[in-house]
Assembly symmetry: C2
Homo-oligomer: 346 residues x 2
Amino acid sequence: MPTMQDVARHAGVALSTVSYAINGTRPISEETRQRIFDAMEELGYRPNALARGLASKRSRIIALLFPAAKRGLGLTELEFVISAANAARENGYHLVLWSTEIRSAAELQQLMQQGLVDGVVVMEIHDQDERIELLRTIDFPFAMIGRCADNSEINHVDIDFGQTMQTVIAHLMGLGHTHIGFLNHAREEFEAGYGPAVRAQTRFLETMAANGLHGTTRFCEPSLENGHRTVNELLAEDPDLTAVIVMNDRAIPGILRAIADRGWRIPADFSIVAVVSSARAAEMTIPTITTAEAPAYELGSLATEMLIHQLEGEKKEISERLIPCKLVARESSGQCPGERVELQKN
Amino acid sequence: MPTMQDVARHAGVALSTVSYAINGTRPISEETRQRIFDAMEELGYRPNALARGLASKRSRIIALLFPAAKRGLGLTELEFVISAANAARENGYHLVLWSTEIRSAAELQQLMQQGLVDGVVVMEIHDQDERIELLRTIDFPFAMIGRCADNSEINHVDIDFGQTMQTVIAHLMGLGHTHIGFLNHAREEFEAGYGPAVRAQTRFLETMAANGLHGTTRFCEPSLENGHRTVNELLAEDPDLTAVIVMNDRAIPGILRAIADRGWRIPADFSIVAVVSSARAAEMTIPTITTAEAPAYELGSLATEMLIHQLEGEKKEISERLIPCKLVARESSGQCPGERVELQKN
DNA sequence: CTGTTAGCGCTTTCAG
DNA sequence: CTGAAAGCGCTAACAG
């Protein structure tokens, strides 16, 4: 591997001149500039990332903090990873993955003190998040995909749950539904202050109330069986329910079965809309599911870009971006049934 | 941030002694060792990763090469990422993500010449893979998840397609099926020499022949519509088909619909087994799908560990590990129907 | 068992 | 507009 010194000699200039030419840190005459670049080309020179990072105190590496959630990572999380990696690369940064399993903030701190990364993107934020507390107190640059209790002075992006709920509920209202259920993540998630679990439910109830509709909510563990049970509970609580909004992809098959068990057809007798979901999942079922798709790719890119801008910028200007899920109508949502006969199977 | 020099002063020893104490590179008396560690503790010292890497010429960073495949990344790929990240961390390495969109080897080469990473894990291998060619010619350490045409001298892990097909076909044979279809990835993938597309099909045909069974194969673009069409083509080619093995999750709903269209029930009239699939996808459908699940987590961890061992070891001992998919019987596979009436709908 | 010292390859003052 | 030189924080000879 040729070094900068080699390039300098080859071009007949000082080592520092090569450095300046590469970084554009100070004016270089077009002529020497050309000589230097020719030399680089000829030698196949690539600046050494480690040396550059050490000397400049900026590694141009950022980390994605990526919790091995109990909920189980899904396609949305995959898109965060991919989009963050792409955004980083497009901006000349490397992305390292830090899976912060259970870990106490202590371990995270050690990672940051290694001086490897210039900043971190944090995902799966909780209202009270000790990772965020830590980042804040040691004043380490970061951006969040999600929100916590106090987001002042923090770059972050999140799903616009208010807008999403409004769109979804408007869709169902337009079809004549007035009694709508909301099937959330597990109670545990909600109580742990997991952002989507909290905000989606709040917004659901607000929007339903604002429109004079009748809303019922339930938590649900992510499984077929629990989906089945929970939708039955919702229907027990409000027998007039004609639609359910579900933010729990793994519960969907259970819902479909519970509805089929009653001899109902979807969407003739009952409508389902998944929120914060993905097209891939929505198209696995029969019928395909109308979804409000998580803007995962945008969120990942945006958060990453925000972080990098903060890193590059002189002044740290803070921004917040909320992006609604995009409604894609498929086969599972339809006109509210006028009358509905229940044929409980066996 | 305290430096090694600070620790040395604090402990009253030479800087190098601290270095040796940390790396265990040479014997240190228990007493000074203790003093040094106390000093480190007290100062909250963490070795600087960049400096260490620069001086030792070993960054302890590896990269995961991760193509933005046209096939679209799924849960299996997510698990590669997660497991590789975990395996790296457990072994004291960092993992950076390199999405190699434009797979022009040139770009990859530049990345490697930055000296940031000690080695790479490559996934989504094709028979003729220019990334592998490159890695080979410049003698850069790597391990593969998958295989290419010539795997000699390369650490790699892969799915044991032979064993997987044997298990799956045995499962179906045990249920009395003798005419079985295989629904592959898209033809394009096969022709590009994408490992699974090639090997699974080859093994399917081999195993079917070896058992005196009647096998039919078809390529299929990953979508509901194509799944629907393709299974009908399979049934047109062999009307006695009573089961299909599908290695294309997104085609599954199409298959289910095509079967339903004929008025057939699953598994009474027709069986489906997905291979190289995931539980998450298999449980989205009604009925749930019997699958041979991709050992994604193991593959990711193993490949990563192989690479790290190669990096650490004196001698580079090469290994190959093939792991079969694990069969999980669910609702979509059952006894071969004796007789079957086709009621083509509408 | 411990200390001294020469770099690793680059950035960035400080001088022209 | 360009050079010289002092580090960045650490590893690894080389000496004892």
